[in-house]
């Protein structure tokens, strides 16, 4: 039986570990010149090397080495002065050579850390190693009931993905997260993804598998000093799944331990549909990988001067950038975190760059547009509207050509595909009423129709003017400038504030 999360955390402390694989966005594969385009027809991006034809040899991609070192530097790692590739030997039809070229005890980057924020609190995650390896091909399982591996009649294999450079980033064990373990795991993967993006080394699309995560979890009774046996959950392919996988594995392990059971060191698989994990192959009967230095490739000895140059040229990293923007935009931690969670920072920054005041840019993206994104189930960046268009709308509001209500209508029009903000204003006739004569006529009519309110205002109850302004706005179908209308009403009634 699984145990409820809160109860599990009352009794046990979790220790996390995360292994993340990032497919680099190089033009060619890790050890051959084949293309790396996602979704190409099967076996069209293959050659003797990545198919492991007899006699073919690997040659390492310089750009992949450079990207890995940049990742290591961004994660505050030391860079090896000398290291080698190693062969990891195991038989699997996805893996043409039946060994994976990887790194073993000499990773390219090691001993780093990244800082993430969870609920506004900083958490430092230590990085054990960052190393370079190659991806496998892809099997499709044919026959059987579910198309899954179990019960399949046979499989068909496409090796287009085989040999794409893969960077593996391994954390040191992360104790002390307590109840926030799932949030910490998610925050870590989110931060890592943003770092990869800011470095431009990968498109980090979890849904396409260019960022994949294995989650290690162990539990120990509260107050214990020795860590429990860990499991490794694979197949965790979205940020939400990272959170769910940690939570579900904590609940499961707590249940096992509470019943006096033992945790088996094993690989488990996460299932998106149920949000739970199931047992894979037990590590006890797992392979002896017989790692040894790859004789077909020579050692890597990065020139320290070159590494220093790479370090100097690193872009501003996401956390530092968020801190800077938060200060520039004068936002609270809470507001900044909300923008981060909503993936709105890039959009707001671009909107500000297009000329909008930060407060207005934030207001639109986090308000009206976030609501729309939420309703339609697309990410903010997926809405059919650009930062430049938002900037134009704020400009129209600032100039008095639009008020907020009209601006919302303009956005609606843009989102509906009716054109640019200016085109929507034109087509829907949304200009604010600036003609004093027209406004004056509307006001006169409103005053005439609302004798009671007029009386109240005249008698000094200036607050009653709000009703009259509302009447003007209604009569003008929202196109009137409310402030100007109020001014004129008071003028006409001979009252001053």
């Amino acid at each position: 039986m699984t145990m409820l999360y809160d109860e599990a955390l009352d009794r046990f402390e979790p220790v996390l570990g995360l292994e993340t694989h990032v497919e680099l966005g190089t033009k060619s594969k890790m050890f051959c010149g084949c293309k790396t385009t996602f979704g190409a027809p099967p076996n069209t991006q293959v050659c003797p090397t990545c198919l492991a034809f007899p006699g073919a040899l690997p040659v390492a991609n310089a750009a992949a080495i450079e990207s890995t070192i940049r990742i290591g530097l961004a994660l505050n790692c030391s860079i090896a002065e000398w290291c080698r590739f190693a062969r990891k030997n195991y038989f699997y039809p996805d893996m043409p050579k039946n060994y994976q070229i990887s790194q073993y005890d000499e990773p390219l980057c090691f001993d780093g850390y990244i800082d993430v924020e969870v609920n506004g609190e900083p958490v430092r995650i230590e990085i054990e190693r960052v190393h370079l390896e190659e991806d496998t091909g892809k099997s499709t399982h044919v026959g059987g009931a579910t198309g899954r591996i179990h019960g399949a009649d046979y499989s068909i294999v496409d090796y287009n993905r085989a040999g794409i450079p893969l960077v593996e980033i391994v954390t040191k064990p992360i104790p002390g997260t307590d109840r926030l373990a799932p949030e910490v795991a998610k925050a870590y993967v989110t931060e890592l993804r943003e770092i990869m993006r800011s470095l431009g080394v990968s498109d980090v699309r979890m849904e396409e598998g260019s960022l994949r995560c294995d989650v290690n979890v162990s539990l120990m009774p509260r107050g214990a000093s020795e860590w429990g046996t860990r499991t490794e959950t694979k197949n965790v392919n979205s940020l939400r799944s990272v959170e769910r996988a940690v939570r579900s594995e904590i609940e499961r392990q707590a249940g096992v331990l509470a019943e006096g059971g033992k945790i088996v060191q094993e690989t488990r698989h996460f299932h998106e549909d149920t949000g739970t994990t199931t047992s894979g192959r037990s590590k006890e009967e797992a392979q002896d990988y017989r790692y040894f230095p790859e004789p077909d490739l020579v050692p890597i000895a990065p020139d320290p001067a070159w590494v220093a140059k790479l370090k100097e040229a690193l872009p501003e990293l996401p956390l530092a950038r968020r801190k800077r923007l938060q200060a520039e935009w004068a936002l609270s931690d809470h507001d900044m975190q909300a923008m981060h969670n909503a993936d709105a920072i890039d959009l707001v920054e671009a909107t500000v760059a297009a000329g909008a005041p930060a407060a207005d840019a934030r207001k639109w993206w986090m308000g009206e547009l976030a609501r729309r994104a939420n309703e339609t189930g697309v990410p903010l960046s997926g809405l059919p509207i650009t930062p430049v268009q938002i900037a134009r709308v704020t400009e129209l509001v600032a100039s008095g050509a639009l008020n907020d209500k009209l601006a919302r209508e303009v956005l609606e029009g843009v989102l509906a595909g009716e054109g640019t903000p200016d085109e929507v204003v034109e087509r829907r006739g949304l200009q604010i009423v600036n003609d004093e004569g027209e406004l004056s006529a509307i006001i006169d009519q409103v005053l005439a129709d609302n004798a009671d309110a007029v009386e109240k205002v005249r008698s000094g109850k200036i607050a009653a003017a709000g009703a009259l302004v509302g009447g003007v706005m209604r009569a003008s179908k929202g196109k009137a400038d409310a402030a100007r209308a109020r001014q004129l009403i008071l003028e006409k009634l001979g009252v001053s504030e």
Binding site: P41, A62, V298
Partner: protein, 99 residues
């Protein structure tokens, strides 16, 4: 005492994906035992402080530029395959983990 047992040889055969018969296992167990005893002579060289050599020559930093080179057409890639389906290599059912 023998350097390697028949059970160990059976384990090596499994790790190496070699389906050996009982007779073969017996035969290889005897031979491997003699060979391992003989190669164990490497231990006689005093080499505690000597670094191991994985390569014949001390080359470093051999890379290729990140450029796309023409590969094989699918027909060429699949030309020697024992079985093909939908431009993919058809293989017997795979045991073990879902990759």
């Amino acid at each position: 005492m023998s350097a390697i047992t028949r059970d160990e040889v059976a384990h090596l055969a499994r790790l190496s994906r070699l389906a050996l018969t009982d007779d073969e296992l017996d035969h290889y167990a005897t031979q491997l035992d003699a060979i391992i005893e003989s190669v164990a002579k490497v231990a006689e060289v005093a080499a505690e402080d000597v670094p191991p050599s994985s390569h014949a020559l001390p080359l470093t930093n051999v890379f290729r530029a990140d450029e796309v080179q023409p590969g094989l057409a699918p027909e060429q890639a699949l030309s020697g395959a024992p079985a093909v389906e939908d431009d993919r290599f058809r293989v017997p059912r795979i045991l073990g983990e879902e990759a």
